[in-house]
Symmetry: D2
Subunit: 381 residues, 4 copies
């Protein structure tokens, strides 16, 4: 039952890495939004394999097709179905893995749960599944941009023990897309490429951290109690393959400050907008956006499938060793960037519609006007 | 709409800190479970205010009443309603906060979202809301214990810059409850009490980290894709007040290992159970439990409401200062321990029922037998 | 899991007929709505037992208490909890029914499902559960009235073989409340009272039909495909105790017309509003409201619990007979009227918020303006 | 948001009549179920257009393709995606309807809601959408058959003023498929074919009633309060295009009996099973199945799109007339039979999994054993 996400802007993905295809149904999209396959393809191209020398050499064009929900270039308000057929599938690479479990991969747990699994590639646990998320995220981003001017940018913040210097208030999509690492710090990029290539040569892999900033988010998104904005963001991020941690604002480092050091003091700016001097809250207080930039981080473990030999067991419980064949990413971080953006966009878009349902329509004008007054307009009073 | 949690074992909480009361409806609880108000009260007493010199002196007995769903000591299978009336409410402490926003608190965002808020205490954003979660968690824990012997223990792992030494494989509830900090490391406890008392004297507050371990979890819980077990755990934890970060297994530190260093190699033990040599996965692979201990960490920021003076604004946008009155926790960590356990129990219980729905009934016997075979019994084949 | 209803305006009820109390949590209510316990009590008084000589003589004041979600007379946007304590419970009436199943009642099926049941009264299957629905419905009605002027009126249309003459375009709440049958046809009322009293004397019971009309519903409520407005109305009505059938517009009689006879031809009125000459559609076409009056009917079977002796079995499978004790309604129809109105209000209010989420805010002005133009304003374009 | 159905066995459909295709994602299907495209195609062939002289002559092979979720002939437990490409689309037939609203069709309400619509064919409101339901229903039927031997048969019970004589305890799929009307009464079939052909010649259309029986349903399916089995069945049926009414068991006719006449008296049979002498309840009491046959009826209005000229309006509000072109069913009843069966199967399968989640696994043995004892086994006690 776990293949859907979102309460109002609701996506349902399907597909295995080596089946007939992967894709997504998006239900709840507002009508009359202009959207084209090209706009979706732009985001898919950012996450597709074979895009550079530091990703997997597996070549898939990942060409998308919109099968429903769009008519004469505009959304109908009914389900949008986006399909990507599978192409470059070398199932024979996986013959050994059909019987030997890859350490720290989903092979063993899928078998334990279902008693059956598609052992060609990662099956349903493959990162190929994220195609549906990224396609849906492209539409969510466009809605957020049009309605309230929201701008979402993610980038690689850390790989192994290398860290990038980034100003989250100023980083742009162009900065990020300017290099194959997807990080705006040139020095970091250079050293990271070298580190990833070294890891690949050794048949090993590297992990790291993606940071994401969402700017111009209107005040008021998010709901008490369980559906706090950071709770839904955490779930969104931790549902991505290979994630091991999530932080909002000050994160774990914030636990080493006192309350007086940590609190974001308020002030009224020249126009009377209520702002905060600092942003350790990461743009969210009490589960609800406060109009400052939302900043979060996602920890990605090093890729589990590696060429180096490791101890493992066979499906029938015999001890053995495995040196994985197949074409795998030595570091998922560069391709994880559009995935993180997509998940953040899905959460924000869903909460935008939820807010609109209960508290009335937000428009671009509300982003600044909401800063002017603590009193939101109610649809009732 | 965000006041419910869980898909099958579904809880809905209600109540503000200074209204008529707080509580929870639990829907989907299996029938014929023996449960008493005393068992629920045991957990509520762990989280109630005024329990020790390092918590808020606000005195609430938090006595619970079961209004429905239990008959002659057993669950009926229909909704269980647990109510706790509010008692020790000194609303006058909040007169100033009715017009001045507490920095890093939910005051301003609730006003921005709803245009109205119950300014007495935290209103709906008060940690008092977690009473409903802890009550429901007591029932979830009992189900998990009876059906598959699951054992959930949380403890304070870090306060400010102090860290506890804990062995997650061996720590017990008794170890944790043996002191007012709720940590099994005596040296850490002593220094932490001193640190919290010092912070209180200064009108300041401290944050920290709660770690939680769930042992004897059966293999197979969790669902691809969005409802991965770690994703639902992350949402559960990040929905608790004051959380800023979540980690499963190796967490952010794991990003500094290579794949070969990080992977948990498999082996078959003497009985043929498939186990892992290490547990950097934290008991979950591909979103599904693998039978090893689930280990997670939650970062709690320092309490926002402090006596020290801070800059802020009034409801109508005037710059001012605030030194908060009222009786607040100088450090929420000791009281957060039962909250974290409750949220972990809710997630595991929900996924236990979900697994049972799709893949057949699990019993205590399945915990070990599931270790014996990678092939789960299907209800169909 | 089945004790919640609605996607955005979401109610969760709890309670058994003879436990500590019954009630409801309403999540998703818009903020700043003025609401008082008196307004809720008005509707509860319409459904309470003991209100007239043709209902059960069981006397319960059914006094409600608002425990959360309302502050200084206005909704907060957070969960509203309404509690009604149980009072006049004569459990001893049910001693025999603890071991003998009432024919056509829920006793046997609850035991079959759960292996346990609260045999005092109807337990969870008691119509007492509808208190929570009627309380929530009172709030839904107020929202619908304020936002778009929706007016919902139900009435008894048929009892046994007696039928009322009613003009659904003109019937008012005052007409309905003017007599104890809750029907605007005086001749029907008189004969119905006599029929119900005769049935009671014979230890028997009568069924019938409630008709409900919702006027001034804005165009555009309802969603393809599964959540068609009539589908959600059907579920709402068929979830009420004792219902056996549901009709919208022409209903079963409509199957005996040809398409040419049945279709509602369109015309543009003097103001350019698109209207229909007839209303066999019952105000809904393609699952979406068309601005005409919504008209539906609910069939209620005769009360199952009767004094007349019937064959039955004991809990352990022995053949026996039962002549039910206790104080039961000889005809549920008069008390079913507010229940039907409540369920219709819950569905319309939920769909109003859903429409607002996807397609932008509706206000009172939209009811007429929506009639003026086939082109709804989109929040996007 | 309304394009999904079911809580655990959850289907999401997509597609318009003249877009790229239609289909369904089925999430929550138990693993290891043997299923083939042929089994799904069998049901699709029962509902496809052009199958006989009394249906629309539109020719679509409606060939299905399984894109995910099935591996080596067995379900994986992950989403099953079934796609049917659109073929025989003559959009030019709809040029006139692009600007003129068909009376009693969804054209006008879709425009009112979304401000945009795919005017080629019915768009999303086309009965072509039910392909996804019928495909999912084929899988649900197989699960129900394998796990507990459930047998679902629907048939045409009434067309216009003609009624069939059918014994719901004995009717078989073979009886129903033996003729193009899909009714087991030969005399009725003959007269119905003549009536439909006459209506077609006149450019008119006919409605009617489909009855459906589900036999060998285990006791205990269905949930109080809102998700009563008959409530979910009602929603399922009323979500089908062109439905105007729903009845369970005695339906509206039951309102004309007294309680003593209507109640289903219990008896214990020779094996100690608790049975009822009659079945006016239609197999459901208190919202929960009682082990007797479930019997329901669905009223379908006459097809809205007819060749006879009718008054209508244009999209911009001008009065006009329309004589619809295109190839339409003069009577939808024969093709509605597999749709009704599919919806009943989806509801029962979902509730089977829900019951299993809360109350433990049901197997084929439980159907009879559940009849033996009023005490269900609990997963807990």
């Amino acid at each position: 039952m776990g293949n859907s996400f979102g309460h109002l802007f609701r996506v349902t993905t399907f597909g295995e890495s080596h089946g007939g295809g992967v894709g997504v149904i998006i239900d709840g999209c507002p009508p009359q939004l202009e959207i084209s396959a090209e706009e979706i393809q732009f985001e898919l191209d950012r996450r597709r394999p074979g895009q550079s020398k530091i990703t997997t050499p597996r070549r898939e064009s990942d060409t998308c097709e919109i099968l429903s929900g769009v008519f004469e270039g505009k959304t109908l308000g009914t389900p949008i179905m986006v399909l990507v057929r599978n192409k470059d599938a070398r199932s024979q690479d996986y013959n050994e893995m059909a019987v030997k479990y890859r350490p720290s991969h989903a092979d063993a747990t899928y078998d334990a749960k279902y008693g059956i699994r598609n052992w060609q590639g990662g099956g349903r646990s493959s990162a190929r599944e994220t195609i549906g998320r990224v396609a849906a995220g492209a539409i969510a981003k466009k809605i957020l941009k049009q309605v309230t001017g929201v701008d979402i940018v993610a980038y690689v913040k850390q790989v192994h023990d290398l860290e990038a210097q980034v100003d989250p208030d100023r980083v742009t999509l162009e900065d990020v897309e300017a290099n194959i690492v997807r990080s705006p710090d040139p020095d970091f990029v250079e050293r990271t490429i070298a580190a990833i290539e070294a890891a690949r040569k050794q048949g090993d892999s590297l992990g790291g951290v993606v940071e994401c900033v969402a700017r111009s988010v209107p005040k008021g998104l998010g709901e008490p109690v369980f559906d706090k904005l950071e709770a839904d963001l955490a779930k969104a991020i931790m549902s991505l393959p290979a994630t091991k941690g999530f932080e909002i604002g000050s994160g774990f480092a914030g636990t080493r400050l006192t309350g007086h050091e940590h609190n974001d003091e308020f002030y009224a700016d020249a126009e009377g907008n209520i702002r905060t001097h600092t942003n350790r809250s990461g743009g969210i207080q009490g589960g609800i956006s406060n109009g400052e930039a939302i900043i979060l981080r996602a920890a990605f473990k090093p890729t589990a499938t590696i060429r180096k030999e490791q101890r493992t067991v066979t499906r029938d419980g015999q001890n053995t060793v495995l040196a994985a064949k197949g074409r795998h990413d030595p570091c998922v971080l560069p391709r994880a960037v559009p995935m993180v953006e997509a998940m953040v966009a899905l959460v924000l878009c869903d909460h935008l519609l939820r807010h609109q349902a209960q508290c009335g329509t937000l428009t671009a004008a509300d982003v600044s006007s909401s800063l002017n007054s603590p009193l939101a307009a109610s649809p009732i009073a």
